[in-house]
């Protein structure tokens, strides 16, 4: 049982690694698109629009339906619907900050923000995430990651 659990854990970690690898490729492609259409916001719109279009058949294949119980809208907190807005804030901030900070500081600041809030989400169990308390080993892991990112950005 224990062995099976750790097998899945490693599988999920590898999946996360692969998902992360997709991200710089996406950034590179979107940078080209931005030059082609001459507007960063337009490039982001094309990216979101294409993504939405592709998700329609994906959802239909995986779930055989595209609908959900309408009472979810009434019963759930309002912030359930603003995930996409946060995605846009992230993309636009990236575009605006890059010329002001340069790529090294932009990457480091963003990753620090990501890691700090992720630790807090785990620690307090915000948004219904399973609680996982902060301990010194996790903080050491966080420091190592940030130090690693700084080293790679610098050299």
């Amino acid at each position: 049982m224990k062995k099976k659990e750790s097998f899945y854990a490693i599988l999920f970690l590898l999946w996360g690694l692969a998902a992360g690898m997709v991200s710089p490729v996406q950034t590179a492609i979107n940078a080209k698109l931005r030059v082609a259409v001459g507007s960063p916001v337009m490039a982001t719109l094309i990216s979101f629009f294409v993504g939405s279009l592709v998700l329609v058949p994906v959802t239909l294949i995986m779930n055989r339906k595209l609908t959900f119980e309408l009472q979810v809208i009434r019963k759930s907190p309002w912030w359930l619907w603003i995930g996409g807005v946060l995605g846009i804030i992230f993309v636009i901030s990236n575009i605006l900050l890059l010329p002001a900070l340069g790529s090294e500081l932009t990457v480091v600041a963003i990753i620090c923000g990501q890691m700090v809030i992720a630790m807090l989400i785990d620690h307090f169990g915000w948004f219904g995430v399973a609680r996982h308390k902060i301990n010194w080993q996790r903080i050491a892991g966080l420091v190592l990651l940030i130090a690693g990112v700084i080293l790679i950005q610098r050299f």
Partner: protein, 149 residues
């Protein structure tokens, strides 16, 4: 000014795990992580249409550009974006927020080093060196610590 920009970057970074957590919860409520991705991207698309009007005062671009650029610049970003978004939604309940962030950041870093090394996508070549290798090793150990404790 630079301090303000740094704070801006820090806050923008915070948007990512919060978005993943919200979308993960949305996936549970609507009964499908894929539908959650779709809702998130559609809301984003609608807001971006408004932003494009506000920023560019028009929502057109030259159609001839479809022919003068490779096809994948139009679809690549969107397809990879939803892969990243949906994977994050599926992984967060299984790995927790922090581990999801660190493992995807590690993947990003490794891929970025590859892109630099070989100059893919017309990026200037930047070869792997010892400090970069030490950085990757440190990050791997960091992921191990987070996973273990």
């Amino acid at each position: 000014m630079i301090v303000l920009s740094l704070i801006g970057g820090f806050l923008a970074g915070m948007a990512v795990p919060v978005q993943t957590s919200i979308n993960s919860r949305l996936g549970r409520e609507v009964g499908s992580p894929y539908l959650a991705s779709l809702i998130s991207m559609s809301v984003g698309t609608i807001i971006l249409i408004i932003l494009v009007f506000a920023a560019d005062h028009r929502i057109m671009f030259n159609i001839s550009m479809f022919l003068s650029h490779p096809w994948w610049i139009w679809v690549g970003g969107g397809v990879l974006g939803i892969t990243y978004l949906t994977s994050n939604i599926l992984l967060l309940p299984r790995l927790g927020a922090a581990l999801t962030v660190v493992v995807t950041v590690l993947g990003q870093t490794i891929m970025a080093i590859f892109i630099d090394q070989f100059g893919w996508f017309d990026v200037p070549v930047h070869e792997l060196n010892i400090p970069r290798l030490i950085g990757v090793a440190g990050m791997l150990f960091g992921v191990y610590l987070m996973r273990k404790f």
